[in-house]
């Protein structure tokens, strides 16, 4: 029992298929356990028989070679086991990832090496874009429509379900319902280039009312800088040409190439789940992207003075 806890410790947490947080994820988890435990038992049993066949005295092991043993152990047993596993696996396949009426629609595009996220308009709620985070309400079915802008990526939130490929020019759908509030982590599960390993995103499962608050605030344009220091940051952002790649709604920055930064300050992490989001990491990112995420499609702005960098990072951090 103690030994068992050693490999299993550390399997819980924000990015683990062994810590399911939704119905589908539970189905997949149970299937995994059944398969793993079953396969282990059979393997141990067969290995024991093998050792017996090798080391037992001939007269005692003779029954192993009889027609009867072969027919029951070698034919009937696998046929029965597989005949049970096949419908079980198919039923899990049928019951997971099923589109539900009234599901919340979210669109995610995989890009080298980040996630473009769009919440289409729904009722009174206006559409908006964000990046590198998926915020969903607990208990409501979600349909994520995924595609890719450049190469094939794969969208995977281990705690909430299986993987779904993101293929340029094609839209795949992934359906799930989150049943436990909290923070989870999604990752790119298909090698997509040099920074594939640094392509993750945060998943936040909120109470429905908290979700509505978040959604409404995200649809708002960016906050005006409240103090001169932040206004200076905004001006530097404008002068630096950041707006040719980044959108900050409510300002003239309307770039479409990189992540929408309208509410970048409200995100938990930056750089596709790589760093906690604060003035220090933002400044480090701007000055050193190519050192910390070489190959990312944003240039390093290494020549900014410390003061300018702090103002710019402060401005971004204030975009809650």
């Amino acid at each position: 029992m103690f030994l068992w806890t050693v490999p299993v410790a550390g399997c819980g947490g924000v990015q683990s298929a062994l810590d399911p947080a939704g119905g589908d994820a539970w189905d997949l988890y149970r299937l995994t356990i059944v398969m793993t435990v079953g396969a282990t038992l059979i393997f141990v049993f067969v290995t024991a028989l093998l050792l017996y066949a090798v080391f037992a005295p001939p007269e005692r092991r003779a029954w192993l070679g009889t027609r009867r043993t072969i027919v029951y152990g070698g034919l009937a047993f696998p046929i029965v086991v597989l005949s049970l596993l096949l419908p079980y696996g198919l039923v899990v396949m049928r019951d997971t990832d099923v589109p539900q009426p009234g599901a919340l629609q979210i669109e995610v595009t995989g890009e080298q090496y980040w996630w473009r996220v769009r919440y289409p308009a729904e009722g009174d709620q206006a559409e908006f874009s964000t990046a590198n985070e998926l915020i969903v309400p607990i208990g409501r079915p979600i349909t994520v429509s995924v595609t890719a802008a450049d190469v094939i990526h794969s969208f995977w939130i281990p705690n909430l379900g299986g993987k779904i490929d993101m293929i340029p020019g094609r839209i795949n759908r992934f359906n799930f319902t989150a049943e436990r509030p909290g923070l989870y982590r999604g990752i790119c599960a298909e090698f997509c280039g040099a920074q594939h390993a640094r392509m993750a995103f945060d998943v936040m499962v909120l109470e429905p009312t908290e979700f509505e608050v978040w959604r409404q605030s995200q649809a708002q344009p960016a906050q005006e800088p409240a103090i001169p220091h932040l206004a200076r940051g905004r001006d530097l952002f404008r002068a630096g040409g950041c707006g040719s790649c980044h959108m900050v709604r409510g300002t003239e920055a309307n770039g479409q190439f990189g992540p929408d930064l309208t509410h970048v300050g409200s995100r938990r992490t930056i750089g596709a789940g790589q760093f906690p989001n604060n003035v220090g990491t933002l400044a480090g990112w701007i000055a050193n992207v190519q050192q910390i995420k070489p190959g990312a499609k944003m240039p390093s702005y290494g020549s900014l003075t410390g003061e300018d960098l702090r103002a710019m990072a402060g401005y971004l951090e204030s975009l809650k």
């Binding site: 034919l75 046929i79 597989l82 005949s83 096949l86 419908p87 198919l90 039923v91 396949m93 049928r94």
Partner: protein, 119 residues
């Protein structure tokens, strides 16, 4: 190869051939119907894909069952009359292959009753 031997080999491998035909029909028809958007065509309340799989599976099962019965009979006959090593091998393999083909053909039909046609 003599005619007798050819027939014997066909009997031995017959189950596999039935399975191969069922396999080709199931995969070919399902992907064509789903790809062309024809899968919704229904007959007697059953989708075209399900009907195809059902018919292909039942036919292949019947074929494999007949082959199994014939090969069992051959094998029994041969027990009474001593046969050559080749005959024994072919007959016993036939029983095994046709029996297993029966199972595997059945397995290939199972998804049709559980999954939607174009899953």
């Amino acid at each position: 190869m003599t005619g007798r031997r050819t027939a014997q080999v066909c009997l031995t491998l017959g189950g596999l051939i039935a399975w191969a035909i069922q396999f080709t029909i199931i995969y070919g028809v399902t992907s064509t119907l789903c790809g062309r958007g024809w899968a919704d065509t229904a007959l007697l309340g059953m989708g075209a894909v399900q009907i195809t799989i059902l018919l292909a599976t039942l036919t292949a099962l019947a074929a494999a069952a007949i082959l199994l019965i014939v090969s069992l009979r051959q094998e029994r006959q041969q027990r009474d009359h001593p046969a050559s090593a080749t005959d024994t091998f072919l007959n016993e393999s036939g029983v095994l292959i046709n029996g297993l083909s029966l199972v595997v053909i059945l397995w290939h039909g199972v998804p049709a009753v559980i999954l939607p046609a174009c899953a």
